[in-house]
Structures are given as structure tokens and as C-alpha cells.
């Protein structure tokens, strides 16, 4: 037993090596220099203070959605609808910011309050969209994966309609999004040029810490686990199962909505068509990679954010597509899960020989 636990890092190390190997093969197949590509990614992620801060900027929404997803995973749900929930958070936050715009300019409302209320609106939006998935599941019997996927499309369509319709730029609607908000309504960043907002990082860290404590140490978390592992028994044990399912959707939606609101107020300062930027799906990958436990989610999410930001320069410097980061992330998840399966098999066999 004890030596099999010692084997775990070995298997995980092997998984990382294999993932790197496969990505290298992909690079070789496209006749690109692998080493240069990796060096480029590393440099792109930590080469200068400004890119390092960009990594943190990407880390925030990723960590927020991952925190939320860990809650829905605890109750045994695949919240694919997370993308739509981010988008909805962004839409609600934008709507709030747009309506505070005049008041903030005339001094009728304190900009800080306006920002805070808009962020709250974003959280409400995400929760609303998530609970819709939950309601479809509990009352309509629609599997959360199908419901979520459908609502993702609806959210995207609504977003586009707003950007090209009611909220379009004066004159010409454009893919670059709505009119930027007044500077006063931006989440405070460390300096004018940077998009790095320390408050956002704090929010993300608080989120993951709260989720960790929630799952590990509270009655609520234990009941969520019970519902996730055996709803029938959980019900007989006196847990109101559907309420807990809804609550987990709400929590996840709140965090996804917060991610959307942060993107709007501190990164883009406006609503753009692809506002969720795929962070939802990436959060699903991070959750799988950390085996659905909150303990190591923060560093792994940071690593994924670094890969993403680091590969932005690839098209320019090496004429490579920046989706290379995605390839690396995907293979990593695949191999880590594979390695865990292999370890289990190995343990069984080892037991036989011993």
C-alpha cells in the first residue's frame, strides 16, 4: 500500500513527460523547432514583469470558474454550461455598468459603488443562468450536459445580438464589442497600461479558499458529496437533494458570473463577442487534472494560464499557431488521467506478485 502511494509522483511525472513528448512530436510533424517553441512559451509567460502580470490576469477567471466547477463536480454534475454562465455574468455586469455610466459621470453615484454593484449583477447573472440548467435538470429531467450546452449557444447568441443590436457602437456595430466604459468604471489596476487588478486576484484566491473550506470542512460540503455519490441514500439520510443540486449550480454560477464581470470591468472594459474566452472549458480541464480536489487547483490553473499567455507570441516569433498551448494542456489532462488508470492496474498486478 505505502509503496504504491510513493509511486504516484512517478506516474504523474511520466504523464508530464509523455505529454511533452507528444506535443514535441506534433511540433516536429509541422516542421517547427520544439525547443525554440518551448523557450518561447516560457519567455512569453515569465520573460518580463508585464507578461508575468498578464499570466495573473488570465489566472483570475480560470481560477474562478475552476472553483465553481469543483462545487458542481462534488455533487456529481458536469456543468458544461459554465461558458454560458461566464457570458451571462459579463452581460449582466455590462448592463449594470452601462446604466451607472451617466450617474457616475455626473457624480450621482460613487464609481466604486457602481463597480461593486455591477460585479454583483454579474454574479447574479451567472447564478441565474446556472440555475436555469439546474431547473431544467431537476424539474424537466434534462441532463445538465445537454441543458448546459444548449444554454451556452443561447448565451452566445444573446451576447452577439446585444453587441450588434441594442448596445452597438454609435455608427457601426463591430466585432470589437460595445463602446468602452468610462475609465472611472474600470476595476483599479496597478497602472494605466496594465490590465492587472490586484482586487481581482484577491477575489479569485478567496473563491478557491472558500470552496476548499466548503468542501472539506462544512456540513454543506459533506452533504453535497453525499448527494453526488449516492442521491438515493442521501435523500434517505435526510438531505433535501434537489435543493442541494440547485445550490451547487447557484454557487458555480456566481463564481462564473464573477469571472465574466471581472473580464468586463478589468480586462476588456466593454462587452466583446467571445467574452468567455474558453475559460469555462479550460476550467473543466483543470478540474479533471487536479482530480476534482481544490487543494492544488490554484497552482495548476496558474500553469495553464502561463501556457496560454506564453503561447500568444508564437504566431509572431515562430509562425506557429497559439493553439499549441491547448494541445499541450489537452495531452497533459489525457496522460495524467491515463497514468492514474495505469497506476491502479499496476497496483493490482503488484499485489498479485508480492
Amino acid at each position: 500500500m505505502s509503496d504504491s502511494r510513493a509511486l504516484k509522483p512517478l506516474f504523474q511525472g511520466a504523464a508530464v513527460v509523455l505529454a511533452l513528448g507528444l506535443t514535441t512530436l506534433v511540433l516536429l510533424a509541422t516542421k517547427a523547432p520544439p525547443l525554440a517553441a518551448y523557450v518561447n512559451i516560457a519567455r512569453g509567460a515569465v520573460g518580463t514583469v508585464s507578461v508575468a502580470l498578464d499570466v495573473l490576469v488570465a489566472w483570475v477567471p480560470l481560477l474562478l470558474v475552476t472553483s465553481g466547477l469543483l462545487v458542481t463536480f462534488t455533487v456529481g454534475l458536469w456543468n458544461i454550461g459554465i461558458e454560458g454562465q461566464i457570458t451571462f455574468g459579463a452581460i449582466f455586469a455590462t448592463w449594470a455598468l452601462r446604466s451607472f455610466q451617466g450617474g457616475a459621470a455626473s457624480g450621482a453615484i460613487d464609481p466604486a459603488l457602481a463597480i461593486a454593484l455591477s460585479v454583483l449583477a454579474g454574479m447574479a447573472g451567472g447564478a441565474l443562468w446556472a440555475m436555469l440548467v439546474g431547473a431544467l435538470k431537476t424539474f424537466g429531467g434534462v441532463n445538465e450536459i445537454f441543458g448546459g450546452l444548449g444554454l451556452n449557444y443561447v448565451a452566445t447568441a444573446l451576447n452577439l445580438w446585444l453587441i450588434f443590436g441594442p448596445w452597438k457602437r454609435p455608427g457601426v456595430a463591430s466585432m470589437s464589442g460595445t463602446v468602452p466604459f468610462d475609465k472611472a468604471l474600470w476595476l483599479p489596476t496597478i497602472n494605466e497600461q496594465s490590465r492587472f487588478a490586484p482586487i481581482a486576484v484577491v477575489l479569485a484566491l478567496v473563491a478557491i479558499a472558500v470552496v476548499f473550506a466548503l468542501i472539506q470542512g462544512t456540513y454543506f460540503g459533506l452533504r453535497l458529496k453525499a448527494v453526488g455519490k449516492n442521491p438515493k441514500a442521501a435523500y434517505l439520510l435526510g438531505i433535501p437533494t434537489w435543493q442541494y443540486t440547485m445550490a451547487s449550480f447557484a454557487i458555480c454560477g456566481i463564481l462564473a458570473g464573477l469571472a465574466g464581470a471581472v473580464q468586463v470591468t478589468s480586462v476588456y472594459h466593454r462587452l466583446i463577442p467571445s467574452i468567455s474566452s474558453g475559460y469555462g472549458y479550460m476550467g473543466l480541464m483543470v478540474s479533471m487534472l487536479v482530480n476534482f480536489s481544490a487543494a492544488v487547483a490554484a497552482p495548476v490553473a496558474l500553469f495553464f494560464a502561463a501556457l496560454n499567455v506564453g503561447s500568444i507570441q508564437l504566431p509572431i516569433t515562430l509562425k506557429l499557431d497559439s493553439s499549441l498551448a491547448g494541445v499541450l494542456q489537452g495531452t497533459l489532462v489525457l496522460f495524467v488521467i491515463l497514468a492514474e488508470g495505469a497506476r491502479m492496474r499496476f497496483m493490482k498486478k503488484g499485489g498479485r506478485k508480492a
Binding site: M1, L222, N230, K232, Y235, L237, R352
Partner: protein
């Protein structure tokens, strides 16, 4: 098939489940494997059937060393196992469940399989419809299905792990006849049980496991006393039955009508009094389970009412019943009663239903340790429930009961428990009765029904007998009623009653 086990060892952390067991089972015989809860019986059987690898030791089949890596491997060699807790039953039709396990061409011949299934069913006199859904079957019927499936897949050795727990007497008799027939045809049968009388009436030889070791073996005629001593290392005295004076009405069912896919119960009237034990007897699936569920708010009545302590609870939710002090313990432990993946301690915390935010783990552990001790569970606070032996899972389920209850509804309270634990559990339940809790339980063990109930309700295909005094009821009479014989007298008295009523 001659099966030999040599020096099988298996440990789970600190627990030595099998400590060097050697055993030979000749063909055309039934070997009984006895042992108290947690003795290591299931572990040994799972090793033989490929569900778990042994740490060391070897399996020899017909003189050849065999490595069995998986259940499919075992089955390919002709070893099939019937599990103590039926593992997984997907919502499939019987025939699909049958075909699913076969290694054949991609498109199985459904018609042929159905024909063979029917032939097998007829041969053993099993009343199974191959187009029915598996999840609509009772435990006994699932077991019959499993046997047919294993035979159909060509098993030449059958392992039955506690097959008589949870099935009715007629089903048991049918099962035993089937086993005998198969053994006489050359089948090697391993029969795991801790019911001495089952082993005594069926087996050609019996071995006893205790704490992972083989401590003795015996051949007919069996010496019951010696076997008990081998199992427990001591004698186990039977407690005499005693009666607790009954209090006021706790549960009242009036004109209750219930319906399920296969049967209807009409106009059921029953009053249960504080401190009383009511046993529900009948073949599995005769209506007792839905009646019990309806008393817990888990099954909607078509008509009639259920009252608790004079509050009408008809069509209220199970959680409302729970708040009124009703506890319901299901038969399927790992499917409905416990949460696999969570520890004993977690279960106690959940069952307590405390409000608050943070769990005080130290307090919880103390509580868990004391509950584990007072219910004699072999396990630690952090043991996942699925790692407990079957009997210990049942104890855990009982240990989850809250302290103050007005009514306990139990399906098969001692299913899977050895004699010692059975006596122990009932002493616990009776203790509750003396505090004023009423108990309604289902059992397919006639002796248990007669030994522990004050009154008995017999169910047969949706018909329900009036409450019968357990003291005046003999085993034979109860058996006949369960089998659907001798019901005329109730009708006679019922018509007499109505006649009387119309007179007035």
C-alpha cells in the same frame, strides 16, 4: 470441476481478511463456508471469482494452476459467482442483461437467447419474464436471473455468497432444490452462509472461517453446537422472547390502497402501538415493501390515509415523516442506505443532521468511535463504508438511527448478519421498544418474524391478512399463508363481519 485453493492470503491495510487458506472442493458437491461477519468469506470468494487478486497463494483447477485476473477470466474457466450484494443492475430487460455478458458475435441472437432462457427458467421452475426490466425484480428474482445467466454462460462451478438472505422461504426452497439438482449433475458449488440450518440442510461438507483463517471442517451429520463454537469461539445463547407492554397508537393506516406495476393492495387497515413490533411476512414482492415505503412517505397511496400520532401524513414527503420521528432502513444497503466513498464518520455526521457551518471533526470522530463500539462494527471512523463486510454494513445502517424515534421501519433488519449479531441487533431494537419506539419490519426469515414480532401481517400477491398474534402462529401455518394457502378463513370472518354489520 475440482477447485483447490492453496495458502490464499489477502490483507486490507491492517486487516488480514484471508490468512493462508487452503481448501479443496470436489465436483458434484456442495461445500458450505461458514463464518461470522467479517470472517473473510466474501473476500475468499471474490479471489476465486477474479474480482480481487490475492496477495499470495494459488488457485488450482482440475489439477492445473490457474491465474484468474478478472471475473470474465473466471467465467471463461467456468466459475461463476452470485454476489452478496448484487453489484449493479442497470435498467435493462432481462434478456439484454443475459446477452450483455456473453462473448459472442457482435449481434447476439436475441431469439435464440430468449428461447434458451425460457428453457432454463422452466427447468428450474423460475417465474421470470425475459422481457421484464431487471430493476423491477425482487432480490430473490434477481438472484434467480443471475443463476440462469451464469448457467447460460456455461458455469461449471457456482459460488453463492449469502444467497438466502433477503429471499422468501419458498424462494429459498426453490433455490436449494436447484442447487441440489445442479450438484447432482456434476456442478461444483461453494455456498457461503452464516446460517447454520441452511448449511446443514444443503451441504455435503462445511468449513468454518474465523478471522481470516480456516479453523475447522465438518461433514454430515453436523454438530450444530460445535459449528457455533468454531464460528464464534464460544457458545451463543438464544435469548428468550419477551413482551413489552404496548402504548398508544403511533401509526395508523386507514383504508390504504397502494398500487405498483405488478400488484394492488386494497383497504389496508393497521394500527401500530408504541413499543410494539409488527412483522411483515410474505414472499418478496407481495406488497409488504410498498406498504412499508408508504408508511415512510416514500410511496404515494392511491386512496386511504396514513396518520402518525393522529397527524394526517398522507402524501407528505419522506422528510416530513423523518421530522415526525420515523426512520426507514432500506434493504439495498450500498444502493440506498449508505453512500459509497464516504467514511463511517461522514455517515454519522450526515445522519445526525446537525445545523451549522463547520464540522467539528474531533467531536465527530469521538462520536463515531463510540457508535462503532456500541454497535460492534468492525471498522474505523475513516473506513469507507464499501470496505466493510456485508454484516458490518448492516450494523452501520442501524447505528445511523437517531436517538429519539417514534417508529422504525426496517427491511430485513438482520439480513446478512450472523447469529451473534442478529441477537445483538434485536436486543438493540428491543431496547428502543422499551423506550416507546414501535418497529415495523419485513423479513423473509420466518423464525425471525415469529421470534421478534408481537403481531404479524402476512402478504400474498397484494392480499393482506389481518394482524395475527405471533405467539399463536406456528411456523407451518405462517409458511402456508405466505405460500397463499389457508386464506379462506380470513374471508369467512370478513364476510361474517359484514353480515353482522348489515344486521345492525
Amino acid at each position: 470441476m475440482l477447485i483447490e485453493l492453496r495458502d490464499i492470503c489477502k490483507t486490507f491495510g491492517p486487516v488480514r481478511a484471508n490468512a493462508g487458506i487452503s481448501l479443496a472442493v470436489p465436483p458434484a458437491s456442495v461445500l458450505g463456508i461458514l463464518g461470522e461477519n467479517g470472517a473473510g468469506k466474501s473476500t475468499l470468494m471474490k479471489i476465486l471469482s477474479g474480482f480481487q487478486p490475492p496477495d499470495s497463494g494459488s488457485i488450482i483447477i482440475d489439477g492445473e494452476a490457474a491465474t484468474i485476473r478478472s471475473p470474465a477470466d473466471a467465467l471463461a474457466r467456468g466459475i461463476g459467482m452470485l454476489h452478496q450484494d448484487p453489484l449493479d443492475f442497470p435498467p435493462l430487460r432481462l434478456i439484454d442483461d443475459l446477452i450483455l455478458g456473453s462473448r459472442g458475435p457482435l449481434r447476439p441472437d436475441r431469439k435464440k437467447a430468449a428461447r434458451e432462457f425460457r428453457e432454463l427458467a422452466v427447468r428450474f421452475d423460475f417465474d421470470l419474464d425475459h422481457e421484464a426490466y431487471v430493476d423491477s425484480l425482487t432480490v430473490g428474482e434477481r438472484q434467480q436471473l443471475e443463476i440462469l445467466r451464469l448457467l447460460w454462460l456455461g458455469a461449471r462451478a457456482l459460488i453463492l455468497d449469502e444467497p438466502t438472505t433477503g429471499i422468501s422461504l419458498p424462494q429459498k426452497q426453490k433455490l436449494f432444490a436447484t442447487i441440489r439438482l445442479l450438484a447432482d449433475e456434476g456442478m461444483t458449488v461453494l455456498f457461503v452462509s452464516h446460517k447454520l440450518e441452511d448449511v446443514e440442510s444443503l451441504c455435503d461438507r462445511a468449513v468454518v472461517l474465523r478471522q481470516g483463517a480456516l479453523v475447522g471442517s465438518s461433514e454430515p451429520p453436523f454438530d450444530t453446537k460445535r459449528l457455533v463454537e468454531l464460528m464464534f469461539g464460544k457458545e451463543v445463547p438464544q435469548t428468550p422472547r419477551y413482551k413489552i407492554p404496548c402504548g398508544e397508537t403511533v401509526l395508523a393506516a386507514r383504508g390504504l390502497c397502494l398500487e405498483s406495476l405488478r400488484l394492488q393492495i386494497k383497504d389496508l387497515d393497521l394500527e401500530v402501538y408504541a413499543g410494539e413490533v409488527v412483522g411483515l411476512a410474505g414472499m418478496e414482492g407481495s406488497g409488504q415493501a410498498i406498504f412499508l415505503a408508504s408508511c415512510a412517505g416514500l410511496e404515494r397511496a392511491v386512496a386511504g390515509s396514513v396518520c402518525l400520532d393522529e397527524t394526517d401524513m398522507t402524501s407528505r414527503s419522506h422528510h416530513d415523516f423523518k421530522r415526525e420521528g420515523v426512520a426507514y432502513l432500506p434493504a439495498a444497503r450500498l444502493e440506498e442506505g449508505l453512500v459509497p466513498g464516504l467514511s463511517l464518520e461522514d455517515h454519522f455526521i450526515l445522519a445526525e443532521g446537525k445545523r451549522g457551518l463547520f464540522i467539528d471533526r474531533r467531536e465527530a470522530e469521538r462520536e463515531a468511535v463510540s457508535r462503532i463500539a456500541s454497535y460492534n462494527i468492525k471498522g474505523r471512523p475513516d473506513s469507507p463504508v464499501e470496505s466493510l463486510s456485508g454484516g458490518n454494513q448492516q450494523r452501520a445502517l442501524l447505528a445511523l438511527l437517531r436517538d429519539k424515534l417514534s417508529l422504525i421501519l426496517v427491511e430485513h433488519p438482520t439480513r446478512g448478519l450472523d447469529i451473534e449479531s442478529t441477537i445483538y441487533i434485536w436486543s438493540k431494537l428491543k431496547e428502543r421498544c422499551s423506550q416507546g419506539t414501535a418497529i415495523v419490519f419485513i423479513s423473509s426469515d420466518l423464525d425471525e418474524i415469529l421470534q421478534y414480532s408481537d403481531r404479524v401481517l402476512v402478504f400474498f400477491a397484494g392480499r393482506v391478512s389481518p394482524p395475527l398474534s405471533a405467539e399463536d402462529l406456528g411456523v407451518e401455518e405462517l409458511g402456508r399463508l405466505i405460500g397463499g394457502k389457508g386464506w379462506e378463513r380470513f374471508e369467512a370472518s370478513a364476510t361474517a363481519e359484514t353480515a353482522e354489520a348489515s344486521h345492525v
